[in-house]
């Protein structure tokens, strides 16, 4: 079974992140960039499926040259090869345009299954599997906490509030994963060495047959008008418990008319 895993490089969610005032896009250049955390679960799931059922795992990334680091990490975990779509004109694309680029790149690959993360930590949109399913006309099984593939059918437990939905669809399909699905492996030393020799195919928009005017800031279907830091909260009150902490808490809630 051939699997493509969509991996996005994002600014580390634990560090200071911002937009670039020059064009109101995510500041990626100066950021501490990492693999989008949930994508590691998608990679792990792909590796487990490949190891059980055979086939190849291909990493697909749309992003600037620096995203090569994220691809290396995915390869060192054990993926077989990668496709890196990088083109100056893609800068500033919104999710809808990015999905067009990913869809075109997927169109040049052979796959039974596409795996991705349930959410990127920079955009927090959780829309990519739906956008791609719509564009590619394949089944969408999003938000998986469990995945099984058997006899050309994918079955997913879609995580919900307080339970799950059991989903079923024929391949090819796109599945997005939550961090409840598995425990991603750490790259081994051997894996890190092997990754250096694995093929990474670079593609431009021209290679995908996409006109530069169809992507980027100019083609975005929405626009950031302005942004600002959240106004700092007023100084809060901090008291030390001297046996009356519980009562003080309740007094505060009462003063706020909450109790």
């Amino acid at each position: 079974m051939n699997i493509v895993v969509l991996v996005k490089q994002v600014p580390d969610s634990g560090s200071e992140r911002s937009l670039d005032p020059a064009d109101n896009t995510v500041a990626r250049g100066a950021a501490d960039n990492v693999v989008n955390e949930i994508d590691e679960y998608a990679i792990e799931e792909a590796l487990q499926l490949r190891d059980a059922q055979g086939g190849e795992v291909t990493i697909l990334t749309v992003g600037p040259d620096s995203a090569a680091d994220a691809i290396r990490k995915a390869l060192s975990m054990g993926a077989d090869r990668a496709v890196h779509v990088s083109d100056e004109a893609i800068h500033g694309s919104d999710a809808v345009a990015t999905s067009a680029v990913l869809a075109a790149a997927l169109g040049q690959l052979e796959y039974d299954l596409v795996l991705c993360g349930a959410e990127a930590t920079d955009s927090q949109m959780s829309v990519m599997p739906a956008l791609l399913a719509e564009r590619l006309g394949i089944a969408q099984l999003s938000g998986a906490r469990k995945l099984t593939v058997e006899g050309g059918v994918a079955k997913v437990e879609r995580q919900t509030d307080g339970g799950y939905w059991a989903l079923e669809a024929p391949l090819p399909a796109i599945v997005s994963t939550w961090d409840t699905i598995n425990e991603p492996r750490y790259p081994s030393f051997k894996g890190i060495m092997a990754a250096k020799k694995k093929p990474v195919e670079r593609k431009t928009l021209a290679d995908l047959g996409i006109d530069a005017s169809a992507v980027g800031l100019g083609a975005a279907t929405s626009q950031v008008l302005d942004f600002a830091g959240r106004p700092p909260k007023g100084e809060g009150v901090k008291v030390t418990d001297e046996g009356d902490g519980g009562q003080k808490l309740v007094d505060y809630l009462a003063a706020q008319k909450i109790v």
Binding site: S13, R17, S18, L19, E37, D94, A95, V96, E119, T121, D122, Q124, M125, S126, V127, A130, L131, E134, A139, Q140, S142, G143, R158, Q159, D161, G163, W165, A166, L167, E168, A169, D179, A220, T221, S222, Q223, V224, L225, F227, A228, G229, R230, G234, G236, V237, K238, V239, T240, D241, G243, G245, G246, Q247, L249, V250, Y252, L253, A254, Q256, I258
Partner: protein, 321 residues
């Protein structure tokens, strides 16, 4: 005035609609005349109509078919796309649930429209407010193509009644094969709780690693129940097996925006803040006076949760008499 389509989220637990629908109807009024869209199984609209009328739905489009219930996301997007073509609405407003965002995404591709997710406010001119990067950045944005599609973050708009006619119009449901790709075989509820839904609750009490065990989460539940609150948990508490993942608050869990958020034994890591920073009032209980959670707390108590929290629960219960 132009119509604004509002996708209705029915209450999965029984009658009526989810609060998110009332919020969406309220927000939509800034943009035009709300027209509610009920897409569900046969009979779905009957129990929803009264509430939709109370909260300002001038029209109710009723699209009922078993296929809508039996297949994931795509049927609802197809119904909405049909209505967008037919009615030429000024905008589409959808509650920002996982399903809502995915319906919005498919609709954006189908109609060549721009899409803004997790919007907290929208003006008459269509300018949307969004909160980015764990609540650190406030963004204003605008859709520049097609029919603007907004998904509205829960608890960011206060639902206010504005009685309207809610005139029903039946929509014929004819789905493509592509919309029937993913079958919903079963909907399983694992945790039935008498507490309010985490993302909808007015008060949330969350416990972190400091709670120290699954059994000890009874302290958190006790305080929550005395306040009629929902229970949340940090990722460290979830990873340690103290509380189920469904209740995780933060970047990889739920985003909550209640009137009151009480963080107990939680340090306040940026990924946790991502899920609760926009809460109106924040209270923290932590034994470490340097814990970062105190930076955003309106009221903080430096102390041992094992004594402070039960005492607070007792005092609240006593007040209620």
């Amino acid at each position: 005035m132009a119509e604004v389509l509002v996708l209705v989220e029915l209450n999965p637990a029984g009658e009526g609609v989810r609060k998110t629908t009332l919020e969406a109807l309220t927000a939509a009024r800034a943009l035009g005349e709300p027209a509610a869209v009920v897409a569900g199984a046969p009979g779905a609209a009957a129990g929803a109509r009264a509430q939709l009328a109370e909260y300002g739905a001038v029209k109710v489009y009723v699209a009922e078919s078993d296929d809508i219930e039996n297949y994931l996301v795509a049927p609802k997007a197809e119904v909405l796309a049909g209505l967008v073509a037919d009615k030429q609405p000024a905008a589409v407003v959808i509650p920002s649930s996982p399903e809502g965002k995915e319906v919005a995404a498919r609709l954006a591709v189908k109609t060549g429209s721009g899409l803004l997710t997790d919007v907290t406010e929208v003006t008459a001119e269509g300018t949307a407010t969004q909160v980015a990067f764990a609540g650190q950045t406030i963004v204003h944005s605008k859709v520049t193509a097609g029919t603007p599609i907004y998904t509205l973050r829960g608890n960011s708009v206060t639902p206010t009644p504005a009685p309207a006619a809610a005139a029903e119009e039946t929509v014929a449901v004819q789905l493509s094969d592509a919309a029937r790709a993913t079958k919903v075989v079963d909907r399983v509820v694992e945790q039935k709780s008498s507490r309010p839904e985490l993302t909808e609750a007015a008060i949330v009490v969350s416990g972190g690693r400091g709670v120290a065990s699954a059994e000890n989460f009874a302290i958190i539940e006790g305080l929550a129940d005395s306040l009629g609150a929902a229970v949340g948990a940090s990722r460290a508490a979830v990873d340690s097996g103290y509380y189920p993942h469904t209740f995780q608050v933060g970047q990889t869990g739920k985003t909550v925006s209640p009137q009151l958020y009480i963080a107990v034994g939680i340090s306040g890591a940026i990924q946790h803040r991502a899920g609760m920073q926009t809460s109106k009032t924040i209270v923290a209980v932590n034994k470490d006076p340097e814990a970062p959670i105190f930076e955003l707390a309106d009221f903080g108590i430096v102390g041992d949760l094992n004594t402070v929290v039960p005492a607070a629960t007792e005092a609240i219960t006593a007040r209620k008499g």
